[in-house]
Symmetry: C2
Subunit: 201 residues, 2 copies
């Protein structure tokens, strides 16, 4: 499924997942520039050990990780290091992934694609069962913090082709969702959902 | 175990847990004024449904909940409402609970009491098995956000007897830990750990 020389697809509104060996580099590409990609990483040998935003914030004493930062698991072990970021560096660690409950509250009467189910489906397609559902690293997502407390859901600030790259610090399973949120402008003011891509080399 | 007319103990460095019926009010008291209390709440009928900081931040568009705010679960349902806060209102939703890994990284060679184990032990003492370990609502914990991104672990800003009160919006199990962190000044500049108390009425 993973071709070392070509980009893999994260389909608009859907999820994807892949394995990475320790030392490999993952590049997540914001192909159209305005797409948020919810992102997760799990220890391949123990899917209960996951990249954890609340542990990352504690170890980095920062809300937004940047190039050189080591992302850690819920056992505080390094899982990924950010090695490059060609975007403006605006990503989010604060917000839960969207889910069926979120869209029900926004008025949806029928099923709406959502990042939480997308991760579960992407793992299931690899024959894996989700053990925990961690809070995601929301790549390219713009959640400014005002006055140290107040949050808002703002459109992304990047451009087509922006990417962020991670080196695996253990053998990992990574999961993605091209966030299907089209009822708030979090994926751009036009609320249009786009494909994104990734490579593992 | 819960006396309606007296305070229950959250022993210094240890945990506690209790059941609340929908409509009851929990008051968590910072008896000595400088003690952080890690706090969790679970749907009694489904311990996999828990108060979730990442879902609360999304619904409240705020990093710090305040009086009148409804705290929600990982199914985005109301679980607790903040009905009173006599403290300065500085609490934390960003940081993971401390754990054995945290103290190992800080140089501990032997076991150190920690909030993660404290919650598990407090639930076990009630005959309950932890299903998920959510990121805590860290009461009275002072994590200022500077420049919208940068975090620091600062001493609490309250006074002895400060309290925060919650109304249960469903039948819940609540858990607490009088944070045993004595290697950073998060429980006061003197790094001394104190008892805290709670009432349910």
């Amino acid at each position: 499924m993973q071709d070392r020389n070509s980009q893999s697809l994260i389909p608009a509104r859907k999820g994807a997942a892949a394995r990475m060996r320790k030392g490999q580099v993952l590049k997540v590409i914001n192909t159209h520039g305005s797409q948020v990609v919810d992102f997760w990483a799990f220890n391949e040998a123990d899917l209960g050990e996951c990249m954890s935003m609340e542990h990352c914030r504690a170890s980095l004493t920062s809300i937004i990780p940047k190039v050189g930062d080591v992302l850690v698991t819920n056992k505080r072990r390094p899982i990924l290091t950010i090695v490059e970021d060609t975007s403006p560096g605006i990503h989010d660690t604060l917000m839960a992934s969207c889910d069926v409950y979120r869209y029900q509250q926004l008025g949806c009467k029928e099923f709406h694609d959502n990042c939480t189910d997308n991760l579960g489906n992407a793992l299931a397609a690899m024959g894996l069962k989700r053990v925990v559902h961690p809070s995601p690293f929301n790549l390219f997502m713009n959640i400014p913090v005002k006055d140290g407390v107040k949050l808002s859901f703002d459109p992304p600030v990047g451009k087509p082709g922006d990417s962020i790259s991670f080196r695996a610090e253990m053998d990992v399973v990574v999961g993605f969702s091209a966030c299907p949120q089209d009822m708030l402008p979090i994926n751009g003011a036009d609320c249009v959902i786009h494909d994104a891509h990734f490579t593992i080399t």
